[in-house]
């Protein structure tokens, strides 16, 4: 439902001293200034990676690098460094592509992990499991070098709670997802909707663990969301 719209918008037009706009507004496709496109524009993948790693230090996020082959070990090591016993991860086909199926076996996990894979059919249980899990694991959909950000898109097996409720958060960052900054991500998302694809109901740009500076401007890491975060960069091509 849309309530009270016409009078509301008529008033705005009146106050702006004109009639209501009936034709679609052409938004200046090229604003006079475009500094956002210049940032890191000429950086190589390797340079972007180094910017990304440097920025992660600034946002209190650990970074590890892995080859496709070493990823399971690095991931397991990270989970153990958090003393993680229970794990929740999104249901993302890329886990299998990265050879993580064994690690995420839910029954009789060979590593002694209690693993839950997000399953929409199980409803609210997913959220309960996320709340109880020590570690949440997601794979980045787009990764922003400048700000040390992983972009997670919700939908189906990719629940919002995975990266939110557990005490620790691990993001696997496929190198191919790395772009200079939010500018490129925003355009990709926009292009998606222009192609007629739906925008995910929740797109999260996550830059490190949750934090607050509300007490005497002291930065405290870990408020409502994860208290620690690790990104594992994996060469996927």
């Amino acid at each position: 439902m849309i309530h009270n719209r016409e009078a509301f918008l008529d008033r705005i037009a009146r106050k702006l001293g004109r009639l209501r706009i009936s034709e679609p507004v052409k938004r200046p496709s090229h604003w006079k200034h475009g500094p956002q496109w210049r940032t890191l524009a000429d950086a190589t993948q390797e340079e972007l990676l180094s910017v990304f790693e440097h920025q992660c230090q600034m946002i209190h996020t650990d970074v590890r690098r892995a080859e496709s082959s070493s990823l399971p070990d690095v991931l397991l090591e990270t989970i153990r460094s958090y003393d993680g016993k229970s794990v929740i991860c999104s249901d993302d086909p890329r886990f299998a592509e990265f050879g993580l199926s064994t690690l995420f076996t839910t029954q009789d996990n060979p590593y002694g992990l209690d693993v839950h894979i997000w399953n929409p059919e199980k409803g609210k249980i997913n959220i309960e499991r996320a709340e109880q899990a020590d570690v949440g694991i997601s794979i980045s959909d787009i990764t922003l070098a400048e700000s040390g950000t992983v972009v997670l898109m919700s939908g189906g097996g990719k629940g919002r709670s995975v990266s939110l409720l557990p005490r620790y958060f691990i993001a696997i960052v496929p190198l191919s997802t790395l772009v200079p900054r939010m500018t490129q991500a925003a355009r990709m998302i926009r292009e998606r909707s222009e192609r007629g694809e739906a925008i995910p109901s929740c797109v999260n740009f996550i830059s490190g663990p949750s934090n607050s500076a509300d007490i005497e401007m002291n930065l405290v890491v870990g408020v409502h969301g994860p208290v620690k975060a690790t990104y594992i960069i994996v060469k996927d091509r």
Binding site: L9, G156, R187, S207, A213, E216
Partner: protein, 476 residues
């Protein structure tokens, strides 16, 4: 609570602020930190002026076409299965939200930080129908626990309190027994609030920016509370000032970058949460019901006036962090949830003009605010515009000032009167002179000399010297 708090007159609030040395130290430290991080962030980005121009251009374009973009936004949200309510007034907005809450028979509500919900007094309205409303932003939570102490900063609402004061509040109200260490108190709040998030029936947020083209609501936070509020409860109500809108994701990105850098000096905050409609089919978390409440509450009256640019504001608080007046009197002295330079411009426009009439004068017009604003709102000029409005409604400006300014106009138009005036001042002030200064000036000089010496007018004014010199033939 609403936008306004306290009923003490402005000058008394100023005195109270100035005497509160503790608050001033806290504010000074916070200000310095936020100012420095903002400057560093701007420097890292490079071409800051160009970024500001882009920000301004985007905001102006959006405001010029506001009706179009709001229509587009509401159409999109509707298509996505959300509800949109356009509220002309605070009362309309709170009535609608109450209605939504009551229809769900909901009583437990979690909120993430939002200026506009404070502006419309939403908490009070919901508490009146028996709801428990929990503020989940750490700063807001501290204030709420401390008997709804008013906020003193747009971004850091509790910066006027130190850790010891916060510890006391927690101990007194919540039985907290830990130390005053920020880490420990934060962990305590995490524990306190987690059950609230898990059991809340409705989540209420503000909206940093809405994207017209996609119907997206974007929340910018560091704590993660915004995510919890919009992931767990079955209902999400987002409340936005009608001007907080951008055309597409591409402009969103620019504005979010400017906001994060200007507010807290970060490239991006920990969480930029972009929500497009209620949860989609096959999703488990996220709200099943989504409402977007778009608020006018006085904003449309600003459109088309000399104050229109104030609606470009993205609530980053950068102007507060550079304002020396704000530093010395503190945010609460403004008597409005909108404090500092932006508050001095905005409060008389959105609130009771009479109530906030002194605020535009609480500025030395040093323009530090204008220089800091990421969307180039000419704040100090808008303060002068306010003064002009007051001056034009002649009866409102103090008689003394009116007469002085009338006289000013006459004198400065007439060199003869000007010359006569300067001579008169010299003669008239002679009895108060002492070693070349006046320490206790008469009548109109009193406010000046109450705190500082006034040099006595010189025996020979410059123009007399210049003329005499010519007469003496000293000129080269």
């Amino acid at each position: 609570m609403g936008m306004q708090f306290g009923d003490v007159v402005f000058y008394r609030r100023v005195d109270k602020g100035i005497r509160d040395q503790f608050m001033r130290n806290a504010v000074r430290a916070a200000q310095e930190r936020m100012r420095t991080s903002r400057l560093r962030a701007a420097e890292e980005l490079g071409d800051w002026e160009e970024w500001r121009q882009l920000g301004e251009e985007i905001r102006r374009h959006t405001l010029e076409h506001l009706d179009f973009y709001l229509k587009q936004l509401s159409d999109r949200v509707h298509e996505l299965g959300g509800h949109v309510f356009f509220a002309q007034t605070a009362e309309e907005a709170t009535a609608y939200i109450r209605d939504v809450v009551q229809k769900r028979d909901a009583h437990r509500i979690v909120k993430s930080k939002s200026m506009v919900t404070e502006e419309i007094g939403l908490n009070t309205a919901l508490e009146a129908i028996g709801c428990r409303v929990v503020e989940t932003d750490l700063g807001e939570y501290i204030l709420q626990v401390d008997d709804n102490d008013p906020p003193s900063h747009i971004v850091g609402p509790s910066i006027h309190k130190d850790r010891e004061r916060i510890r006391q509040v927690f101990a007194e109200k919540l039985g907290y027994t830990g130390s005053a260490a920020p880490e420990e108190m934060t962990a305590f709040v995490r524990q306190q609030l987690r059950p609230d998030f898990l059991t809340a029936e409705v989540g209420i947020t503000g909206c940093n920016f809405a994207v017209a083209e996609s119907g997206t609501v974007c929340l910018v936070t560091n704590e993660g509370n915004g995510r919890l509020v919009t992931s767990l409860p079955p209902v999400h109500i987002a409340v936005m000032g009608m001007e907080r809108i951008v055309p597409t994701w591409e402009e969103l990105e620019v504005m979010v970058g400017l906001l994060c850098r200007s507010a807290v000096g970060q490239k991006l905050t920990s969480y930029i949460n972009c929500l497009t409609g209620p949860r989609a089919a096959g999703e488990v978390d996220g709200p099943e019901e989504f409402h977007l409440v778009i608020i006018d509450n006085g904003r449309s009256d600003i459109l088309g006036t000399e104050f229109q640019s104030v609606l470009q504001c993205i609530r980053c608080g950068a102007c507060l962090n550079v304002c020396p007046v704000y530093r010395h009197i503190g945010g609460q002295a403004y008597g409005s949830i909108y404090s500092g330079p932006i508050g001095a411009v905005l409060s008389p426009l959105l609130g009771d003009e009479e109530l906030y009439r002194e605020l535009p004068y609480a500025s030395s017009l040093c323009a530090a605010c204008t220089e800091a604003c990421p969307v180039k709102i000419p704040l100090h000029e808008l303060l002068i515009q306010h003064r002009q409005k007051t001056a034009e409604k002649e009866r409102q400006s103090p008689l003394g000032e009116r007469l002085a300014m009338k006289a000013f106009g006459m004198v400065f138009e007439s060199p003869r009167l000007y010359r006569w005036g300067t001579k008169l001042a010299r003669t008239a002030l002679r009895p108060w002179e002492e070693d070349g200064v006046i320490r206790q000036g008469p009548g109109p000089l009193q406010p000046w000399t109450s705190i500082r010496d006034l040099p006595s007018p010189k025996r020979e004014t410059f123009r007399e010297w210049f003329e005499n010199r010519r007469k003496r033939g000293e000129q080269p």
